[in-house]
Amino acid sequence: MIEKAVDLLRARYEQDGAITFAAAEEAEAVLMPLSEEAKSYHVHCVAHAHIDMNWMWGYAETSNIVVDTVRTMLQLMREYPTFTFSQSQAAVYEILEKYAPDLLDEVRVRLKEGRWEVTAATWVEADKNLPGSESFARQFLYAKRYLKELLGLTSDDLSLDFEPDTFGHAATVPASAVDAGVRYYYYNRGMTTPEFAHRWRSPGGAELIAWRDPHSYGSIIEYNLFSMVPRHCQMYGAKDYLAVYGVSDHGGGPTRRDLNRLREMASWPIMPHIFFSTYKRFFSVLEAYRDSLPVVEGEMNYIFTGCYTSQTRLKAANKLSETRLYESEWLSAAAHRMTGKARRNKMYEEAWRNTLFNQFHDILPGSCTAESRDFAMGGFQKSMAAANVESGNSMRAIADAIDLSGCPYYVDELDPADWSGGAGVGFASGISGGYGAPQVGFDGSRTRAFHVFNPTSADYDGVVSVTVWDWKGASSRARFTDSKGNELSASLLKDDTLYWRHRYKIFAVKMHLPAFGYATCILSERESGLPPYAHNWSTRAHVFAEGDIILENSLVKAVFDRTTLELLSFTDKRTGKVSVNKPAAFFELIMEDGRRGMSSWQVGSFQSRENLNQSGKVALIAAQTGGLRQQILYSIAFDQGSQIAVTVILDDNSDTLVYEVKAQLNLRGSSAGIPRLNFTLPLSFAASGYRYDLPFGVIDRPALNHDVPANSFAAALPDEGAESIMLSADCKHGFRCCNNKLSLALMRASFEPDSQPENVEHHFRLAITALPDTDACRLYHCVEHFIYRPLVCAASPSDRRSGKLSPEGQLFELDGKLIVSSVKCPEDSDGLLIRLFNPDKEAALCTLRFTDPVKTAALTDTMEEKFEPIPFTGNQISMSVEPHGIITLKIGF
């Protein structure tokens, strides 16, 4: 039949010199018996406008794009009575609410008619590799809560996670999405296998019905667009197909041309049944075929590997936001529970919205312009202000309620000559201090009390850095004791240093801090005594001495080359494992081939590698090998004024070497080459693979000679034995682990779309940890103690203290191999909300013990809507968490 039609057409074509209407009609008539079958295929035409929230432009342009796109779509709805339109991203609706509320009213009308579909289960279409676990949850939480209130939607209306342009997707996306009530996933990038419709399954078994668009999310309607529909449908056994169309990236959406073409093609007899539809309608049909859809597991990577590193300021801003918000929410919840301080959920929501916006798939990946970055950094600063100020408020509220009267050595008196009030305002709360919480001094007396908070789920026995303002005592006679009068080990890190007319000292104090709790130390002055400190920090003896520099404590021994400052060996004294036995922990200047273009997205092949610890001008500045905190300071100067300033730290009772780094990379990228800075750690042992963290879990990958994403760490999986080593970072993601080597990209001087994104002073921290084994929970706990440092709050003047709380306190403790993603106040009630996950493939038994008796305990979900009561006894909850499970607990007291 088809052949007959073709032959007829050819004959007429050769005769007339063209395909005429008459010839076409004759050929179509021949095909007419196929019409019924042709129409048995259904094409859901879903119009949308993909709007990049600040890509090659700033927020003003984005807002105009949003408003004018929506205005156009509403006009098209008036002209085409059956036209339907779908729009994603809660941030889009926030722009409408702020700048065009009249349009939003019309959107509400179209929503009621079923012609406007909201596909915004997330705040923005975010990157799906680099954000942390809690960010994954908050994208859903705040987007869905906002849209429910703004537009009267239900959870079921927001069951699609729409990620058309995201550059890769972590293996755990289904688990986090399902926990937020999402059932469907739409994406384009990330899989090379041919499955368009599939079930995407997380390691724990959570599944989404996913559609990987075989076309583009920005298709325009062309005449052969639907030719392949039968073939594609055959692959997943259905007769419904999704066609997403509309001018995209810079918004715009479908045009009249698209709508006219669709209307026209729908009338052709030998075409599928073509109609305006919605994602919900399409996925609902697909749901019926669930059992026949192929199952796909694992991550959808690796798309643009440069995006794991490009524009390091944006990466740092994101991780700092996540870290400080975590700490702050916990402190706020603790203050609420312990003192009745008011909940600040709305303020945190605003801070999170800034953070979530910056996770957009062209912002956090670094593929945006300077204008876009400027906006992101402004939002970041606002998030930091909220997190840090509220951390200070919360610690202050608890501090004010602590009774210090029973603490030996503590003398409750206000020195009338005191001038320390206001000392240290703003100290260390900027970029050079890692945007830390306030460390203000209020008390000028010789006896001081400090309350130290531990935001992690494990007890902390280690070094705390205590800043003391305007203390009139002699540093050599300083004595730190706990609240019971037991003396604490301490050493002086920094003596009297001027800061805005005030002076401070920093002491390292060894303390025990309960998990999710606080402890108190008292500073007093001995009447006499020997200096207890190995205070050799400022001497030059170490600089001019000979031999290797050794940092050693009871757990590990690290040997450094005195000239290059490379790590020559690293030994775990607990196991005897020497995980480094050749020069390691060095900075590399790598030149990538820049000729491929799209330099912020794509990593070029390596053209040269240079070990800067060997080729640069390395200067040992100081070394402190005694005391509670041992340190080496050195710098490396290299090309065109570039410089790296490094402080290597080994604390007492720590198995981790911490590198605090300040880097200035003055090199520009171009098509001639992309300069890049790496930190590289060759291993002494063979590794069969590497374990990385990702949101809500870990992933094992083989050795790969290209950059791969991780949230914060990579650990080698040894061929023999269990002992290993881990490299982690506070704001880096692009690991390249192969050839028995851990390497991490620190900075890349990509040159487009921003020509000089890295020309700034950049601060970051790295850690090398000796591991008895590579248990997933252990890795997470090691990173927790590296990233979340103890927070110190000086006691308030005595006239403010009410004295209800004891000098040591705890919100709750957790036994069991689980990772805590968040501790906060519930969104709509008092009590506590705790989100945990099990990164392991075995079920985990856990027990939570609270200070106060529990009144209600329930399993809820990311949206905090579900309420399934669970058993508890007194102040204790015990339960089992499935392998790779995510649980959210809501506790009432």
Binding site: V6, L9, A38, Y223, E264, W268
Partner: protein
């Protein structure tokens, strides 16, 4: 020659010929002309779709690869 090749070569030939005619709108549309209802575009789309339909039915997918 498969049927698919036959249609495909026919379409290529038609494309080539169109370059030499002045009134494109009357013969075969280009995207700029926005005339999908023009006879060539319509019937060639239908033929391609019919081929795909038929191949799926007969499990003759390989001819498209």
């Amino acid at each position: 020659m498969t049927l698919y090749d036959k249609i495909n070569s026919f379409q290529t030939e038609a494309d080539e010929m169109l370059k030499n005619v002045s009134d494109v709108r009357a013969l075969r549309p280009t995207p700029a002309a926005q005339e999908l209802s023009a006879p060539a575009a319509r019937i060639l789309s239908e033929l391609n779709y019919a081929m795909n339909l038929s191949a799926v039915k007969k499990r003759m997918l390989r001819c498209f690869d």
